[in-house]
Each structure stands twice: as C-alpha cells, then as structure tokens.
C-alpha cells in the first residue's frame, strides 16, 4: 500500500469522477485526517470551479446515507470517516445499494487497518470498486524539517542559534530574509523588527 501526502491523495481522488477509494489511518487520526483532506479537496475543487466536498461524520441509518449519496454528482466528493466499530453495517448497506451509487460522487472511506479488513469481508462488491485505490497517509509529506533547515542556516552563515537570538534581542540583527526564517524556525518570530 502506498503512503501519500494529502495533496497527492486529493489529486488521485479527483482523477476518477465517481470513483471509490480507501484511506487507512490510525483510529485516533481518522477525524483529523478527514478534516485535512476536506480542506485539500475543497481547495482543488474551488480551483476547478466544479463539484463540492461533503463529510458524512454524523452517524445516520445506512439507508439514509445512501439516499444522501445518490443526490450528489460524480464531480462531488463524499468523505466517509468509518471507524472499525461502525464500518460493518454501513459498508454492507453501501454494498447492497451499489447499483444506485454508480454515477454518483467519488467516495473516500477513511478507516483503520481493522476497518479495512471488515470492508473487504463485509462488502466484497464495493471492495472491488476500491480495488488498488487503498492508500496510507504520510503525515509528514510536504513538511519542512526544521532542524535540518536550521543546520543549513548555521552552516551557510557561520552563526549559532544563540548568536542570532542575542542579536535579535539586542536589536542588532540585520533585517535579512535569512534571519526572518531563522527566527521563525526557532519559534521566536516575535523578535522580528526589534
């Protein structure tokens, strides 16, 4: 299974109108990942000017969920955060009603490893729709490694963090973009302009 950053995850989700996929995360991170993916997808859909994202986080009877899904278009995205304890009945219902779901929104099921096993076992037809589109999330994708960056600033200037902080606190630090980044990486951005 591939580990993808949120941007790539959104990109792949949007490649297939009406397509289904599964995102595997720890149970404790399902809600946070859903929210982050919603923001990423919303950005791209607004850029393209077509479709919208809807999160189905509130528990509802599975038939009611299907009724809401079939009102969405293939350009929309339905995010379904489904922890392992509820994925069974929901996925069985989606599996049973799958013919009605065809031609409707892209569906992204966010669940845990255990939830994924349930999905495969309880909803074999829906599982075949998902096929190879099962992804892990790389939570660090796109993030700057602050310590490595700071190390390159120290090497590039021959200064230490302490010297930079001392100059900033004393009002003698050159107002240079390099030092702006340095102070931000040290978590001392408030010293800028002193």
């Amino acid at each position: 299974m591939s580990a993808l950053g949120l941007a790539e995850l959104a990109d792949r989700t949007l490649m297939v109108p009406g397509g289904w996929s599964a995102v595997v995360v720890d149970e404790a991170r399902i809600d946070a990942t859903t929210q982050a993916l919603e923001e990423e997808l919303t950005f791209w859909l607004e850029e393209e000017g077509i479709g919208s994202v809807r999160v189905f986080s509130e528990r509802r009877p599975p038939p009611a969920l299907v009724e809401e899904l079939v009102r969405m278009t293939p350009e929309d995205v339905a995010l379904l955060p489904l922890p392992a304890d509820i994925i069974g009945p929901v996925s069985r219902s989606l599996d049973y009603e799958r013919a009605r779901l065809a031609g409707h929104p892209r569906g992204v099921i966010l669940t845990s490893e255990a939830g994924l096993q349930t999905l495969a076992a309880e909803a074999p037809n829906l599982w075949s729709w998902v096929g190879p589109r099962v992804w892990h999330v790389d939570p660090l994708a796109g993030q700057l490694d602050a310590e490595a960056r700071l190390s390159s600033l120290r090497q590039g200037t021959g200064l230490t963090d302490a010297e930079v902080l001392q100059r900033a606190e004393g009002g003698t630090l050159a107002p240079d973009p390099v030092f702006a980044e340095w102070l931000v990486l040290l978590g001392r951005g408030e010293l800028l302009g002193r």
Partner: protein, 206 residues
C-alpha cells in the same frame, strides 16, 4: 523646491519610498478573510507551480514540485514558513532543489507569513532567478526584508539585487505577491531579441 541632497535627506526619501511601496503592496501580501492563512498561500503556490508544469513552463513534474515545496507551521506564535527543499541554497548550488524553466533558468524562494486576528501578512521573502549564459546578467533576487529596527534598515525593506549580493548594490523594488514574481520568472526576464535604441542611434542607423 529646496531638496536636501545630503545622505540624511536621501535616507528620508528612501524610507518614504518604502512606505509608499508597502502601501501599494499586492493584497496577497496582507490578506484578510477566509483565505488568510499560510497553508492557503502554500496550496496556491503549489497549485501555480503544478499548473506551470502542466503547461511545460517548468521542467519539474508535479510529483517533484510536491516534494520540493515545503512548509512548516503555523507555530505557537502563528508564524508560517514556505521554502524550496530542506537546505537553504546560499551558494547557488544547482544540485540543490530548485525549479527550472524551459531555457534553463532556475530559481528558488522562501517566504514567511505571520497569521493572527483574521490576517495573514507576508513579512519576508526572497525569490532568486539564475539565468542561462549570455542573458546579460547571472542572477536577480527580490528581497522583502522583515521590518527593521532603524531608518537605514527600513529604507531598503523591499529591494532587488542584480548580479551582486552586496547591499550597497540593491535597488528599491515593488512589494509583489509570490505570483507576480513567479510570473516574471516564468514569462519575463529573458532575451527576446528586441533592443530599444535612442532616436539618435535609430536615425543614424546605429
């Protein structure tokens, strides 16, 4: 008009000029509303670069763009950093991550954003383009310094360097949005074979 030609007079005018430049800064540099966040700006810059890749204006693929373009934050004090690659490129080392335009010109950048109170202000940036041989100069950099602690510093807050890193060779520059600078890097700053001549040289065929 009694113009003070002393260095003190020049400094006052430099500071006044910078105040005007900041006053005319692109709204992206001082955002308010729902898009006022470093993360939103990061996404927009990434989207711009990926679209440029799709149009073959950049040689790097979308995957490489996603890999190179990095962010950190916002931190506990609401500062946000955007950079290309992990290592800051102090010595114009082509082996470090950068973006490349069709003619071989290549560039990188970093910028810092301060969020809070419904605002997102770009507080500093530097965008540097290195040009192919025979372009007339080797590099051009647009710097927006963080706010300074004195007039001398504030008199050069937004400036550009052409082929020289020495602050004494910097000239004032507009406070641009990241997209205005990237527009310039992708669509401008290259020889087009058209050279403007003075009327005298045109008239004499010179």
């Amino acid at each position: 008009m009694d113009v003070d030609v002393s260095s003190a007079g020049a400094e006052r005018r430099r500071v006044a000029l910078q105040e005007r430049l900041w006053g005319a800064a692109h709204p992206t540099c001082r955002r308010t509303g729902k898009n006022a966040s470093g993360q939103q700006l990061y996404r927009e810059i990434r989207s711009y670069l990926i679209k440029a890749s799709d149009r073959r204006l950049l040689l790097e693929s979308p995957d490489v763009i996603r890999k190179y373009l990095r962010y950190l934050g916002p931190d506990a004090r609401d500062y946000f950093d955007i950079a290309i690659g992990t290592v800051r490129n102090f010595h114009r080392t082509k082996e470090l991550p950068h973006f490349t335009r069709k003619d071989g010109g290549w560039f990188d950048f970093q910028l810092q954003v301060k969020e809070g109170d419904g605002r997102a202000d770009i507080i500093a940036y530097d965008f540097e383009l290195r040009l192919p041989a025979d372009s007339g100069f080797d590099f051009l950099r647009f710097d927006l310094n963080p706010p300074g602690h004195d007039n001398e510093a504030d008199g050069l807050r937004s400036h550009m360097h052409i082929n020289g890193d020495d602050d004494g060779l910097a000239a004032p520059a507009a406070v641009m949005s990241p997209f205005e600078i990237l527009d310039l890097f992708l669509h401008g700053l290259r020889r087009v074979g058209r050279i403007r001549r003075s009327p005298v040289t045109v008239g004499t065929g010179g």
